[in-house]
């Protein structure tokens, strides 16, 4: 079996989480890599939808931006940005939303706006919301991909950019958010899922070679752990080579 990094593990685990044929609202970065890996392995019929208005894109190289030319030329349809949000995302037509995070709390609320200080004079100014608040609210379900460490897994996020389960059970219903919300948080250490009763993120899976203590130390709150924690199979050779090819296509495109 080939060499791989924790990020590879995270990407492969995220790709595996995608059923073939679902429609997927894809952000750039790790989500895009995972989605395109899934297309090249077990989910060739994944419908990739980008906020740039591309519906059904079939990129042959890994795009750097959510608006690369090949996303448009390989799309079934390219629509305006108002249309992609109003006619496509808003009615809940898109089954899965893929999000990243700079900070995430135990209820999977996400911050991608500011860290530290106050909003007007933050320690770190992050990019902001983009499509995330509505993806988190309106997609059928959401999968979050984020590296697990004390900087990102916080008791409280500094700013709620996108809502997960708010302050717990019933929050999404009270807010009138139609989507199910985050069903999986996939990290470089394993997978967390919301507890069916408390909505609190619970470690249900660890990547092979990771022990639960690592996960606890990497979490800024007292991490809830499932009674039986499964182990993520390591990336198969097929998955790894598909991932390498994919990353090579981006380097090639950049060269």
């Amino acid at each position: 079996m080939g060499q791989f990094t924790p990020d590879d593990f995270m990407t492969v685990a995220a790709a595996r989480a995608l059923r073939d044929g679902v429609s997927l609202f894809v952000g750039i970065g790790l989500p895009s890599t995972a989605a395109n890996l899934a297309r090249r392995t077990h989910a060739p019929n994944l419908v990739l939808i980008y906020e740039s208005g591309c519906i059904g894109s079939k990129p042959t190289t890994l795009p750097l931006s959510i608006g690369d030319g090949q996303l448009a030329v390989t799309a079934d349809s390219v629509v305006s940005v108002p249309e992609i949000f109003n006619y496509w995302l808003q009615p809940g037509r898109i089954e899965v939303g893929f999000l990243g995070a700079a900070q995430i709390d135990r209820y999977a609320n996400i911050n991608t706006t500011v860290i530290g200080g106050d909003y007007d004079k933050p320690k770190v100014r992050l990019p902001g919301a983009g499509g995330a608040p509505e993806i988190a609210a309106l997609c059928g379900e959401v999968i979050v991909i984020v590296r697990q460490n004390e900087r990102t897994f916080r008791e409280h996020v500094d700013f709620v950019t996108s809502v997960g389960y708010g302050d717990g059970p019933g929050s999404r219903e009270r807010l009138g958010l139609p989507g199910r919300g985050p069903v999986k948080v996939i990290t470089d250490l394993g997978v967390l899922e919301p507890d069916p009763d408390t909505c609190e993120l619970t470690m249900t899976q660890l990547h092979q070679g990771v022990d639960i203590e690592q996960a606890r130390e990497a979490t800024g709150w007292e991490l809830k752990v499932a009674d039986s924690v499964s182990t993520t199979d390591p990336p198969s050779d097929e998955e790894l080579s598909a991932l390498r090819d994919l990353l090579d296509t981006q380097k090639a495109a950049a060269a």
């Binding site: 750039i28 750097l64 100014r125 608040p133």
Partner: protein, 271 residues
């Protein structure tokens, strides 16, 4: 009928200090050449508007043209931070930067409302987030039929809308295709508009998915070949992803950025 002008005359004509200016183009067709001319002409106190500030606004902000930013996602796509944007927000360099922050869905609807001459748009958005508490142009509204509460965002009607397109004819009819973002809405929502184009042609032949803006909706058109670089113009050139990566070290350092300004902008006059 739209006026055909040189880029410098066009910027001179439509953009004044203190104006609110939308520079649209969603990843594709970003009007870099027009923004560089704005820097060259040393416009000040602008309110600049776009969904994705991107490198184009990192440059305008760093150059000191901007007083206020209206936006929804301020990163260097696939690369990382916009360091000039961060330096302005975090350290007030070169000047304090006022923010009006939205989501993409909200910004897109604000442009659509502006293009429709409506004072607001309705959407399902922002609910439960901290954004409405920071952004006065987000409010709630109640459906007069169902009583359901939804979100309203204030329309955007910039003083000037700037976009880049593939082609225009000599009357100033503009044709663009590929990812069209909110470019049509930007021109229709703005009091004045400047469209830079890859080329001016005698005849616009129809193309798959092409949008046409009739000459009577455009204030002026300026020919600016490669005017979207390092973003791209479908059918003309690809996105220069390397240039986006190369921007990171330049923008990280105030001196290197200043040097970039001197060499690439003030030193050079756009053809």
């Amino acid at each position: 009928m739209a006026e055909l002008l040189s880029l410098s005359d066009a910027v001179e004509k439509v953009i004044a200090d203190g104006d609110s200016v939308a520079f649209e183009g969603f990843t594709h067709l970003i009007p870099f050449a027009a923004a560089h001319e704005v820097i060259r002409q040393r416009r000040r106190d602008l309110t600049v508007i776009r969904l994705t500030p991107d490198v184009i606004f990192d440059q305008l902000i760093g150059a000191g043209c901007v007083r206020k930013l209206v936006f929804s996602w301020g990163g260097n796509p696939g690369v990382g931070s916009l360091h000039r944007f961060r330096d302005a927000v975090e350290n007030d360099w070169p000047a304090p930067l006022e923010l009006e922050e939205h989501s993409h869905a909200g910004m897109a609807n604000r442009f659509a409302a502006g293009a429709s001459n409506l004072p607001f748009a309705v959407l399902r958005g922002y609910v439960g987030t901290d954004l409405p508490g920071r952004t006065p142009s987000i409010k709630t509204i109640t459906c007069p039929f169902t009583g359901e509460e939804l979100t309203a965002v204030e329309a955007l009607n910039p003083d000037v809308g700037v976009i880049h397109a593939q082609r225009a004819d000599r009357d100033g009819n503009v044709q663009l295709w590929g990812i069209v973002g909110v470019q049509k809405e930007t021109v229709l929502a703005s009091s004045r508009s400047l469209v830079t184009v890859e080329e001016i042609v005698d005849e616009l032949e129809p193309l798959p998915g092409a949008i046409v803006l009739p000459h009577w909706t455009v204030t002026c058109v300026a020919e600016a070949p490669k005017g979207a670089h390092p973003s791209y113009a479908q059918g003309y050139y690809d996105r220069d992803n390397e240039a986006y990566r190369a921007w990171d070290p330049i923008a990280r350092d105030r001196d290197r950025f200043q040097q970039w300004l001197d060499e690439e902008i003030y030193g050079s006059v756009h053809a």
